[in-house]
């Protein structure tokens, strides 16, 4: 086999082997970074983040964040075990921390590292409201969105390198024009829509996960209405945003509630 054909064959094989299907939503995914590599990088970064930021010393709020996170995580692990999918959760090291900051936000890193900011708690209102957030973050981690985003970033860069190479004999102004258009097109046309797909998928999975954890998914609509009221005028237009608009999220969540309710049983969760 000629070298070019061999490299094309190897690349195609690698892409095929790196394809996976999300067991909850059925979406096809491409993740080229080995999970073990990604996780160890995320664990190191998470640890540094915690050293450099103030972890809440409020024992009640901290316990609530950890309890809700653990309830959801346990329920999801139980579900994956029942479905014979436990291998998909190997390598995770779950951690849920509350960090002092007025930001109304929370995030997850690959491998199950989650941070909630204290600024989010007044909007969450109670444990069920917080479960909307934790379900969403656990979903990001389990769906491997970090890996997918990193893969997309690498492929986008690869396209940029190829374009730059193809234009190397053109005048600087022409190259800059094409590369600028590529960057803008890749961001607005590929990266941001993918990011919004991830967020909608995390909302979808999160709704089911919170229900599995024993939290009523109907609460998610109230939560997002409060988030919307809190964020009045602060959000960019949807096509320039990493996340769907609040209105889109509320509509999608309302459509998914009947599906999530099939997993809901309030007796399942630990209350203390």
């Amino acid at each position: 086999m000629k070298p070019l054909r061999l490299s094309i064959f190897t690349t195609l094989l690698m892409v095929l082997l790196s394809c996976a299907t999300n067991p909850i939503t059925g979406r096809k995914q491409l993740a080229l970074i080995p999970s073990s590599t990604l996780n160890s990088m995320a664990f190191s970064q998470y640890s540094s983040f915690l050293q450099e930021h103030k972890i809440s010393n409020d024992p009640v709020q901290t316990a609530m964040v950890r309890r809700v996170g653990t309830n959801i995580k346990n329920a999801v692990e139980r579900y994956y075990r029942q479905q014979g999918l436990s291998s998909k959760l190997e390598g995770y090291s779950w951690e849920f921390n509350l960090v002092e900051d007025d930001l109304v936000n929370a995030w997850a890193m690959p491998g199950g590292k989650v941070v909630v900011y204290t600024g989010l708690l007044p909007v969450a209102v109670d444990e069920a409201g917080l479960a909307v957030v934790m379900g969403h973050e656990v979903a990001h981690a389990i769906a491997g969105h970090g890996n997918e985003r990193m893969t997309q970033g690498l492929l986008t860069q690869l396209g940029g390198v190829a374009l730059s190479e193809a234009l190397k004999n053109k005048p600087d102004a022409t190259r800059n024009l094409f590369l600028g258009a590529y960057g803008l097109g890749a961001t607005v046309g590929v990266m941001l829509p993918f990011s919004r797909t991830h967020e909608s998928e995390a909302d979808h999975m999160g709704l089911i996960f919170m229900a599995m954890g024993g939290y009523d998914p109907n609460v998610a609509v109230d939560f997002w209405e409060r988030m919307s009221a809190n964020n009045k005028g602060g959000a960019p237009p949807e096509f320039l945003s990493t996340h769907p608009s609040d209105r889109t999220r509320i509509r999608q969540i309302k459509e998914l509630i009947p599906k999530a309710m099939k997993y809901y049983s309030p007796k399942k969760r630990k209350k203390r």
Binding site: F49, L103, A141, G146
Partner: protein
């Protein structure tokens, strides 16, 4: 080429990424190594450095 690890947050923020580079280690082992750590910037305010 740089690979970027994303923070998957619940709402939009201006910058959610931390840049890392994928490099070839001396012994040929593939390692992910931090190359630029000034970009983990949640809401433009929180910074992570190594």
């Amino acid at each position: 080429m740089r690979a970027e690890i994303s923070l998957c947050s619940i709402v939009h923020h201006r910058e959610e990424r931390s840049d890392v580079a994928i490099s070839r280690h001396d012994k040929g082992t593939r390692l992910l190594r931090y190359a630029r750590n000034d970009a983990l910037n949640v809401g433009g305010r929180l910074r992570l450095s190594h």
